[in-house]
Each structure stands twice: as C-alpha cells, then as structure tokens.
C-alpha cells in the first residue's frame, strides 16, 4: 500500500515541479501523437469519404478491410513498419528507424483505419438524397463532397477523438520503431513500460497520471465542441 501512496506522492511532485525529463517526454508524446492524428485525419477523412461515395467492384471487400484495420494490433503495425524501415527494407533509405518520425509513421498507420472507418459510417449515415439535394443547389462535385463532410462534422470529431485516443495510449509500435531512446524517442507509454520494469513505480505512476490527464483533456475539449455544436 505504501508503495502506491509513495508513488502517487512522488508522481505529483514530479508533475508540479515540472521535472525536465517528464516534461520532455510529455511534449514529445503530444507532438508525435498529434502529428500522427493529423496525418490520419487527412488520409482517413479523404479515404472514408471516397469509399462512402464511390461504387466500384470489390467495394464490399474494401469496406471489410477498413473495418478490420480499425482493430489492427499495434505490435503488428510495429513489426511491419520496422521491416519496411530496416536498413535493407523497402524504405530503409529514409534512415528514420528509431526516430520520432518512425513513431509518427507507425501511429498514423494505426489511427488511419480508425478515422477512415468512422468517416465511412458517418458519411453513409447522412440521408440518401442529401447528395442529390446539394447537387441540385448547383454544387460542383468538390463542393458537394465538402458540404457532406461539413454535415458529418460531429461524427468526424468523434473519429479524430478515437484516433488520438488510440495512438496516445499505444505502446507496442512506439517501442518497436522508436526504440525508447532517452531524450530522443521516449514517449509516455514507452517510458512507463521501462520504469515499471525497473521497479521505479513512482515515475511510472507520474507518467500514467499525465497520460490519463492528457487523454482526458483532449477528449474534454473535443466533447465540449461537440456538445456546443449540438445545442446550437
């Protein structure tokens, strides 16, 4: 019991004194997961909207693959991103393995199917005739797609929340492609795994509390926007 109490005490001390290492790890986590989410937003919303609005042979298969991708295990992503970025792998020339960039890449691969899948469902859930209604108002195809995305903005916000939630708490891929290098590619989750392994429960608890606060804050902000939109 003491172990936990001591841990919590130390944790809050580290947080409130803005411990340099903890702060560095936190900022890197935010940057990496934020960028990964941004990439997944651009790719996922475009891909989800395209899949929702197009009719082509094999579409059903593509939709199934997207939905499967939503449950992609991070370690599997970690494994394949590592293989691709390995010195003599297809993308080895980029020389980004064990860098924050590699983590961003892996996390974007994890978040993209989540954003794509939710976007697909959101666009498909809009009234069937809305597309025709927008076109009948004189819209070009691009204007029509943009207006549909705007109409689905609330579920799309949920997609972004789910994507960010998925990658900020992910550990497998980050440790595999980032290498958990101190002061360079160490993020909240990888650091927590390492500190726990070393028996440094106080630091691990501090990192966990920050991780939870981060996830909570980001989601609270997005929820706030979502609720305000709904009440308007």
């Amino acid at each position: 019991m003491d172990l936990i109490l001591e841990g919590i005490k130390k944790a809050f001390f580290l947080i409130f004194t803005l411990d340099a290492e903890v702060l560095g790890i936190t900022l890197l986590s935010l940057k990496v997961s934020g960028l990964a989410t941004l990439i997944s937003m651009v790719v996922g919303i475009s891909a989800g909207t395209t899949a929702a609005l197009s009719r082509f042979p094999g579409r059903q298969l593509v939709v199934s693959l997207i939905n499967t991708g939503m449950a992609l295990p991070p370690v599997v992503v970690g494994l394949f991103v590592t293989i691709f970025l390995w010195r003599n792998g297809p993308l080895g020339f980029l020389e980004i393995l064990y860098t924050p960039t590699a983590i961003i890449l892996a996390q974007a691969v994890i978040a993209t199917p989540i954003v794509t899948g939710i976007t697909l469902a959101a666009i498909q859930n809009l009234p069937a005739n809305l597309r025709l209604q927008i076109l009948s108002l004189g819209a070009t195809r691009i204007q029509m797609v943009w207006m549909l995305v705007k109409e689905a903005r609330l579920p799309l916000l949920a997609a972004v929340m789910a994507g960010f939630g998925g990658v900020i708490s992910e550990v497998g891929a980050s440790i595999m492609v980032g290498g958990n290098i101190r002061g360079y590619s160490r993020v909240l989750t990888t650091a927590t795994v390492m500190e726990t392994g070393r028996g440094n429960f106080d630091v691990a608890i501090a990192l966990s509390v920050i991780l939870m606060l981060l996830a909570f804050t980001v989601n609270a902000i997005l929820t706030q926007i979502q609720q305000r939109e709904r009440l308007r």
């Binding site: 009234p127 005739n129 809305l130 025709l132 209604q133 076109l135 009948s136 108002l137 004189g138 819209a139 070009t140 195809r141 204007q143 207006m147 705007k150 109409e151 903005r153 609330l154 939109e229 308007r232």
Partner: protein
Amino acid sequence: MSPGENPAILLKAEGLQVRRGGALVLDIPVLDIFPDQILALIGPNGAGKSTLLLALACLLKPARGRFSFNGRVIDAGRGDVEYRRRVALVFQEPLLFDATVFDNVAAGLKIRGTGREEIVRTVPAYLERFGIAHLARRSARKLSGGEAQRTSLARAFVTKPEIVFLDEPFSSLDPPTREALIGDFEKILRETRTTAVVATHDQTEALRLADRIAVMNGGRIAQIGPVAEVMNRPADGFVASFVGVETVLPGHVLRISDGVFTAAVEGGEIEAVGHVRTGEGILCCIRPEHVTLSTNAPPPGTSARNVFSGRIRTITPLGLFHRVRLDCGFDLTAYVTRQSFETLSLEEGKSVIASFKATAVHVIPRQT
C-alpha cells in the same frame, strides 16, 4: 399541343430512358416543359415520377436521352453545372443542413459564389415570402415539419431558378400545415411566374396547382394535357381508373346567396356549396355517380339545383352500369345503371336531362 398553350418550349426531353439493374424504369419518348406553366406528374407509387424529376434535373444519368434547355442541348447527367444552377429541386423530405434557417436558405447562393453583401440583401425577402423570417437565426434541427419544408422551398426559390422540380413536397405534412403551405406556395409560384414540375400522388393537389397534368404509369406517360382534358377525357382505362373520371369544369364564382353560390363555367352556370369569394377562380368537380339522367323533366321529388339538357355523345357499357358522356354546353359524364339505361332507352345522339345537387359539386379553389 392544344390552343392557348405557350408555343415556346423551355425544356425538351427526347428519347429519355432510365435503366435500373438492366430493367427499363423510365421511357419517355418526348416531354415538353412550357415556360410559366405548372406541370403536375401524377401516378401511383413506382410510376416513375421521382425518377423523371431526377432525370429532368440532371441528377441521374439516363441510359439514353437528349435534353434541350432554351434551345441549347445540355449534358444529360450530372456534368452540366451551368444547367443545374438554373433549375432547382425540392424533395419530399426537407434535407436541411445542420445550420441556421438563414444559412440554409443562403446555401445555393454561397455555392454560386455570391458575395456576403448580396446574400444579406437577398435572403430576407425569401424568408419573408415563405413566412419564416422570424426563424432566421434558429437551428434547422429545431423546426417543425412545415417550417422545415418552407425553409427548403425558400432555399430553392432564392436562386431564382427557371424551373423548379418538386417531388411530393407536401406529402409528409399534416393536413392543416399542408393546406397553409400549398396556399402560400401557389401564390408564390404565380407571383414569381416560375415554371414548375410537381410530382404528387394527390389528385386534388394536382388540380389545384397545375396547368397541365401528366399521368404516369410503369415509367411511361399514359396521358399528358391540360387539366380539364385529362380529367374529362381519360385516354385509357388506367388514366380513367387513376383520375376517377370526374367531370372537371374550370370557372369562377359569379354570386353567393344563402350559402349556395353560382359559378360560371364554359357553356353554362353551376350552383354549388363551398367557402368561396365572388370572382374567385375555382374548379368544379362532379363525380359521374352523382349525375342523374331522365328523358323529359328531372325525376319528381329531386332537390337538384343543377338541371341541364344535353345530347348523349358516347355510351360505354361497364358491366353493371353504363358510362354516358353528355354535351350540355360543357362535357358531363354520368353513370347509369343497366336497368335505368333500358327504361330510358338511351342511345347516342339522344337528348336527355341531366341533374345533380349543389352539394355534389366538389369545389377546388384555384388562382387564375
């Protein structure tokens, strides 16, 4: 084309065919839309009314077909943005955006790149016209059915379309809301002189709004023509069964006394009951089963106020009764039982007396 119709053609569709899963769902050899006229498409569900509207609005790609708009050939598909910006379509469901009423009505203008200043100048007039000015700042999600449909109509009209296509725009509304909206809508259509094509399965709505009626069945137009012509002279059995073979006489109210009014129709005067104003344009509809025939005077004891002498034009046996078409100065159709038919020894060319009660006349108000 019958006399009195505008000879100019605003939109012409030729050889229009739409296929769905290989099956032909729409087959229209030719359809002309005349300017400033309202064409009603009536027919049962699945007759192809909505498909025709979507094809005319260039929102679906037909298997084949050629459209010309104001004499210019247009791309029958979604490609012709310029054409789509000159017409508008209103669906049965309002399909509003998750925005304020004002922003919804402004949507078409924004799409056209209209400046903010002009939007602010134009939109309020249309909000006013459709009776939703007080709702301008309200979220479209918080509107009643009638308010939402008014917003949808205002959104279509604000772009000053040359043709408005309407797909059963009133059918999801409750009767009082619907009555009020149809009245306003009719007024706006006449005021703005907008050409319109309205799909409806409600005959009264069609009679009230339309200059011409097209009766559709199985993806084809069974009959098209001026309202009275389609109603009084159905081209085939389907049209007759769908429109109910009523005598429909356009006219106007001459005078009102004691709750009964006299209307002037082409070739005579008719007495009827209804809430009307002197001078008001109306359609008088008389169902054939309400018309009684006799050979000399009206049957004794009848209280019929409308008595006309006429000549029998055609007789069609329909099993238990005969359908008798008369020329009384206007066309009048009557159903006669087989027994009466024999007693009266009716035959084509014979003179008879036709009578019907003032209460048998179904009156539809109509702006002229």
